[in-house]
Symmetry: C2
Subunit: 153 residues, 2 copies
């Protein structure tokens, strides 16, 4: 069974090459496809401070996708963990989800900050961030998952 998606828009500007860290201050735009959408598709979005952006890691070639385990970033001091126990980009279906700040809505052009996607990235969905969808109950995570985020934003 296959599922076919069509990007709803693309990332414009911000970074032009992927890098591991320091995404927090990066500003970019998300431009929605004007052939399929009008401004009513984002009506009311400016009432939210944050967006959840689903995008495609389009620069990962399918043959590089990992199905088993590996060390995040290849770091010898971190454990070998399964691809579904980490958020690395060489993953099956190459899907990404990131919450970023929404700075401005201008028609079909959204200015965002802290989106870890490069110029040209296909955007697959946008959702408003609602606090009601935050994790319920106490969050537990291993030390490497904290260490990997130290310089990320």
């Amino acid at each position: 069974m296959r599922i076919e998606l069509e990007p709803i828009g693309h990332v414009r500007g911000g970074r032009y090459e992927a890098s591991d860290d320091h995404w927090g201050e990066v500003r970019a735009a998300i431009e929605l496809d004007a052939n399929r959408f009008a401004a009513d598709a984002v009506a009311g979005l400016d009432r939210f401070s944050h967006l959840e952006v689903l995008f495609h890691f389009h620069q990962v070639s399918p043959e590089k996708v990992v199905r088993g385990a590996r060390r995040p970033r290849g770091r010898a001091d971190w454990p070998e963990v399964g691809i579904f126990a980490q958020r690395g980009k060489a993953r099956p279906n190459r899907l990404a989800v990131t919450v970023c700040r929404l700075l401005e809505v201008d028609g079909l052009r959204l200015t965002v900050q802290g989106l870890d996607a490069i110029d040209g990235t296909p955007v697959l969905d946008l959702k408003p961030y609602m606090t009601g969808f935050a994790p319920r109950g106490e969050v537990r995570q291993p030390p490497w998952a904290v260490e990997i985020m130290a310089e990320y934003w």
Copy 2:
């Protein structure tokens, strides 16, 4: 441009019909595709308390997808907002993202609680929930986005 995805697994058990509210206590399993994955794909996942699950709203027929604005749940007391300013399922690409609790990892079978997906739902990706990916900065949202979550979990 089209992007083709293949489900990595399916939701088994839990609810058999979609409903709006009271998902918090629902337990279900996610069964990963044993033809493509082995247990190393989820090695180390049990160190995380929560999972981010990307799935497909497969029961929404494509002709029902909304591209403009509508009132969430059709509620007259809530504003008309764009499909990308709400999290309703009749959305372009029909993609869903939910954070749920991970109760147990048994080979390729994961037991979860509070996943708002019905039996048979195609799962497209799993990511460990890391606190470093929570929203940076203060979250702002309109009143309806709080009210809609009142009975959700």
